[in-house]
C-alpha cells in the first residue's frame, strides 16, 4: 500500500514538471494511480515486449531451440539468397494488391447495392458477410476439393457445358490467382460492411440538395457518395492490404505454396523454414516481413490520411 502511494506520487511529480504552464490543478494528471497499470504492464512486457525484443535477437542467431549461436546478419543474407524468395516477394505483392484492389471495387459496388431499398436486404447483407465468419482453413480445404482439376465440381460443371476447365491449383501460372479469387470471395463481405456503414452515415440532405440541382445517379455517386466514403475506403485499403501482405492460411491450405514454389508468398516461405527447424532463419524472415509491411503501410496510411485532411 505504501509503495503504491509512493510510486503514485513520483509519477504525478513528473507530469507536473513537464507542461510549461504552472497549472494550478495538475492538468495532465491521469485518473489512475501508477499501481493500477501494473497488471496490464506486466502482461504487456511478458507477452509483447519480451518476444519482440527476443525475436530481433534470435534473428541474428542460428537457433535449434536447444542451442543458440550468434551469427550476425548471416540469416538475412541467406534469406535474401533463397531461390524461392524472389518468387515469394513478387507473389506477395501480386496477391496483396490484387485482393485489396478487388475488395475495394467489389465492396463498394456491393455496398451501393445493399444499402439501397432492395427486397430482403437484411438477408442479403447477412449472406455476403457469411464467408467472413467461416474458418479460413475450412474454406481452403473446401475450395481445394471444388477446384480439383478432374473430379472437382467446378470443372465438372464446366465440362457439362463443354468447357475444359483449367487446373485451378495445379497449373503454375494460375494457382496464385485461384487462391486470390477465393480470398476475395471470403473477404469482400467485410469490405462491404465497412462501406455500408460509411454510406449510412452520409446525410440524406446532400442527395436532396443535389436532386434540386438536377444531379443524376452517376453525379450523385461520383460527387457525393465517393468523396464522403473516403474514410471507409482508407480503412478497407489498409485492412485488406495488411491482410494480403501477411496472408498465409488460405494459401497454405489450398496449395502449400505449390506446385513447386510457384504460389509461395513471404509468409509461407517463412513457415516452411520454421517447419524445417531453421528457427533463426525464419525469425529473420519474420523481421523482414515486419519491415516490409511497415514500409508499405506507414507511408500509405500517412498519404491516404493526409489527402483526407486536405479536403
Amino acid at each position: 500500500m505504501t509503495t503504491a502511494t509512493a510510486t503514485g506520487r513520483t509519477a504525478t511529480g513528473r507530469t507536473a514538471t513537464s507542461p510549461p504552464k504552472p497549472a494550478k490543478r495538475k492538468p495532465m494528471k491521469s485518473p489512475y494511480p501508477s499501481w493500477f497499470f501494473i497488471p496490464a504492464g506486466v502482461f504487456y512486457v511478458v507477452l509483447f515486449l519480451v518476444p519482440t525484443v527476443a525475436s530481433f535477437y534470435f534473428s541474428l542467431t542460428r537457433w535449434t531451440l536447444f542451442d543458440v549461436e550468434f551469427i550476425g546478419f548471416d540469416n538475412f543474407i541467406r534469406f535474401f539468397q533463397e531461390p524461392q524468395l524472389v518468387t515469394g516477394f513478387i507473389n506477395t505483392f501480386i496477391y496483396a494488391f490484387l485482393t485489396s484492389g478487388a475488395k475495394v471495387v467489389l465492396g463498394l459496388l456491393f455496398g451501393v447495392l445493399l444499402s439501397s431499398q432492395i427486397i430482403g436486404r437484411g438477408f442479403l447483407r447477412a449472406t455476403i458477410f457469411f464467408p467472413v465468419l467461416v474458418s479460413t482453413i475450412g474454406v481452403g480445404i473446401l475450395f481445394k476439393v471444388l477446384m480439383d482439376p478432374f473430379d472437382g465440381p467446378i470443372n465438372e460443371t464446366l465440362a457439362a457445358i463443354g468447357i475444359q476447365g483449367p487446373g485451378w491449383l495445379t497449373d503454375p501460372s494460375i494457382a496464385l490467382l485461384s487462391v486470390a479469387l477465393v480470398d476475395i470471395w471470403k473477404g469482400v463481405g467485410l469490405a462491404t460492411l465497412i462501406y455500408i456503414a460509411g454510406m449510412v452515415a452520409i446525410p440524406q440532405e446532400y442527395y436532396e440538395a443535389a436532386k434540386v440541382d438536377g444531379a443524376g445517379a452517376w453525379n450523385n455517386f461520383r460527387h457525393i457518395t465517393l468523396p464522403l466514403l473516403r474514410p471507409a475506403t482508407v480503412t478497407v485499403v489498409l485492412l485488406s492490404l495488411i491482410g494480403g501482405l501477411r496472408s498465409f492460411d488460405l494459401i497454405w491450405a489450398m496449395t502449400g505454396g505449390g506446385p513447386g514454389f510457384t504460389s509461395d508468398v513471404l509468409a509461407s516461405v517463412i513457415y516452411k523454414q520454421y517447419q524445417a527447424g531453421f528457427f533463426g532463419l525464419s525469425t529473420a524472415g519474420n523481421v523482414v516481413l515486419f519491415l516490409v509491411v511497415a514500409a508499405i503501410i506507414f507511408p500509405l496510411s500517412w498519404w491516404l490520411n493526409r489527402k483526407e485532411a486536405d479536403q
Binding site: L65, F66, D67, P259, G260, F278
Partner: protein, 440 residues
C-alpha cells in the same frame, strides 16, 4: 560470440516462453501420479491409420503381459507439421513418455544427445541389425528400437500389365523407358504414376536412385557430408535428370499434379497406372484400399544408367520408438521395459499381423509370415544377392527440407533438372549449417 552461460539462459528463456504459451493454451501433459506400482505411459505416434493400429496392438499385448503398466496412444500429424510437434514438445520438456519418430537424418535434427534417453547399454541392442543401430545412433549413444520393418524405395509395377504386354523387369534406365513407351503405345495405362497432391511422394526418383549413386562412388555419402560431393554433378544428378526425362517424354498420368498417394497406390493396383516409384510401406495402404491386388502389385529396384549396378535402395524402419529425457523414475523403467518388448519375436508377429509387412525385419529371431504381399516378397531376392545399399538419410545426417517442393517443380516441368539440383544443393547447405556440421 555470446559466452556459453548466457547462451544457455537465453535458450532457456526462449524455451520457457514456448512452455508458457503451451501452459496458457491449457495443454497439460498427463502427469498422473504413479501410486501402488501402477504406471501409466503415454505414447505419441503419427496419425497414420496403420501406425495407430500397430501401436495400439503392441500396447495392448504389452499390458496383457505387464498388468501394472498401461500405455495410452496419442497421435500427432504426419510430415513436417508432425516434425514441428515433436521438436517443440521435446524442447519444452512436454514430450509423451514414449514417442515414435524417424530414424536417420530426421532423428539427428532432434539433437538426440540432449533430448533422448541413451539405451546403448541395454542387452537387447545386440539383437538389432547393425545398419539399424547406425541409423539411431550418434557418436555418444544409441537411442531407438524399431517398430516395423525395413523397406525399399522401389518401382512398384502392375504385374498383369507386364504379363499382357510381355515385358521384362528393366535393369537399366533405358530399358525402363523402353517399357514405359511400350505401355504408352499400347494405351492401356499411364506408364508412370506421379502424385504431387502429396508432395513428399515426388522424391522417390532422387532418393530411390541412391543405390546407383553408391554403386558408382562408394564414398559418395561421406563426401556429401563433408561438403565435397554435390547433386549438380554425376552420379547423384541422374535422379533429377531421370525425373525431368520422364516428364518430358509425357509418361506421367494425366492428373499427376493433383493425385494423392492413396490414388497412386490404387492406380497401380487397378492397372490404371503401370509404374509407381514409392517406398514399399505402400503395402499397408494397398492392403487397406485394394486388398485383392496384393499379388498384382510387384516391385523392382529403380534402375540406373548402368545395368550391372542394378540394386535396391533400402530404408531402415521409419517407425522407431524413442524415450525422451523428460521421462523419469518408474515411468522410465516401464518405458524401457516396453522397448525391450519391442525387440521380441512376439512383438514382431503382432506388427506383421496388425499391418501388412513392408520388408524384412531388423530384429534377430523375427521372420516374415508366408503370405506377404508380392511387392515385399519381390524384394527378398535382392537382399539375398546382396544387391542393396542404404538410403542416403541413414548414411549422412544432412537432408535438405525443400527436396519435395524441388522435385515437384522438376517433375511438373517448372524447373529444369540442373536448376533443381542446384537449388537442392543450396538447401542441403542450409541444413548442414543449421546442424553445425564441420566444413560448411
Amino acid at each position: 560470440m555470446v559466452p556459453r552461460t548466457t547462451r544457455r539462459s537465453i535458450v532457456a528463456l526462449g524455451a520457457g516462453g514456448l512452455a508458457l504459451s503451451l501452459a496458457l493454451a491449457g495443454c497439460s501433459a498427463g502427469d498422473s501420479d504413479s501410486d501402488g506400482g501402477a504406471v501409466e505411459l503415454s505414447f505419441l505416434v503419427d496419425n497414420g491409420e496403420s501406425t495407430v493400429s500397430t501401436a495400439e496392438a503392441l500396447a495392448e499385448a504389452f499390458t496383457a503381459e505387464n498388468p501394472d503398466i498401461t500405455i495410452t496412444v496419442e497421435t500427432r500429424p504426419q510430415g513436417a507439421d508432425g516434425d514441428n510437434v515433436v521438436k517443440t514438445r521435446l524442447a519444452t520438456g512436454e514430450m509423451a513418455d514414449l514417442f515414435q519418430y524417424n530414424s536417420g537424418s530426421l532423428l539427428q535434427a532432434l539433437n538426440p544427445d540432449q533430448t533422448l534417453v541413451n539405451i546403448a547399454d541395454e542387452p537387447y541392442i545386440d539383437k538389432l541389425d547393425e545398419n539399424f543401430v547406425t541409423s539411431v545412433a550418434t557418436d555418444n549413444g544409441v537411442y531407438g528400437v524399431p517398430m516395423g520393418q525395413s523397406m525399399a524405395g522401389a518401382m512398384l509395377y502392375n504385374k498383369d500389365i507386364y504379363a499382357d504386354l510381355g515385358l521384362e523387369i528393366p535393369e537399366s534406365w533405358d530399358e525402363f523407358i523402353a517399357n514405359s513407351e511400350a505401355i504408352k503405345e499400347a494405351g492401356v495405362a499411364a506408364p508412370i504414376v506421379q502424385t504431387y497432391g502429396d508432395t513428399w511422394t515426388s522424391q522417390l526418383f532422387v532418393l530411390g536412385d541412391f543405390n546407383n549413386v553408391l554403386a558408382e562412388n562408394p564414398d559418395w555419402a561421406e563426401e556429401y557430408t563433408n561438403n565435397e560431393a554435390k547433386y549438380v554433378d554425376q552420379p547423384a544428378f541422374a535422379g533429377f535428370e531421370h525425373l525431368q526425362a520422364a516428364y518430358d517424354a509425357g509418361l506421367f498420368n494425366e492428373d499427376f499434379a493433383s493425385a494423392t498417394y492413396a490414388d497412386g497406390v490404387s492406380m497401380v493396383a487397378t492397372g490404371e497406372g503401370a509404374h509407381y516409384p514409392m517406398l514399399t510401406f505402400a503395402a499397408s495402404q494397398l492392403a487397406t484400399t485394394n486388398p485383392e491386388a496384393t499379388d498384382t502389385v510387384g516391385s523392382f529396384p529403380i534402375p540406373g544408367d548402368d545395368a550391372s549396378t542394378f540394386g535396391l535402395t533400402v530404408w531402415m524402419p521409419t517407425y522407431t520408438v524413442f524415450v525422451p529425457q523428460s521421462t523419469e523414475g518408474a515411468k522410465l523403467d516401464a518405458a524401457k521395459q516396453f522397448l525391450e518388448f519391442l525387440t521380441t519375436p512376439e512383438a514382431c508377429d503382432i506388427q506383421a499381423e496388425a499391418n501388412a509387412p513392408q520388408g524384412p525385419f531388423v530384429v534377430e529371431g523375427c521372420s516374415l509370415p508366408d503370405d506377404v504381399p508380392a511387392m515385399v516378397s519381390d524384394l527378398q531376392q535382392y537382399f539375398d544377392a546382396g544387391q542393396t545399399n542404404l538410403a542416403l538419410e541413414f548414411l549422412s545426417p544432412i537432408k535438405g527440407p525443400a527436396l519435395e517442393q524441388i522435385t515437384v517443380a522438376v517433375g511438373s516441368g517448372i524447373t529444369s533438372a540442373a536448376d533443381g539440383a542446384a537449388q537442392y544443393d543450396e538447401d542441403v547447405k542450409k541444413q548442414a549449417q543449421q546442424l553445425g556440421i564441420e566444413g560448411w
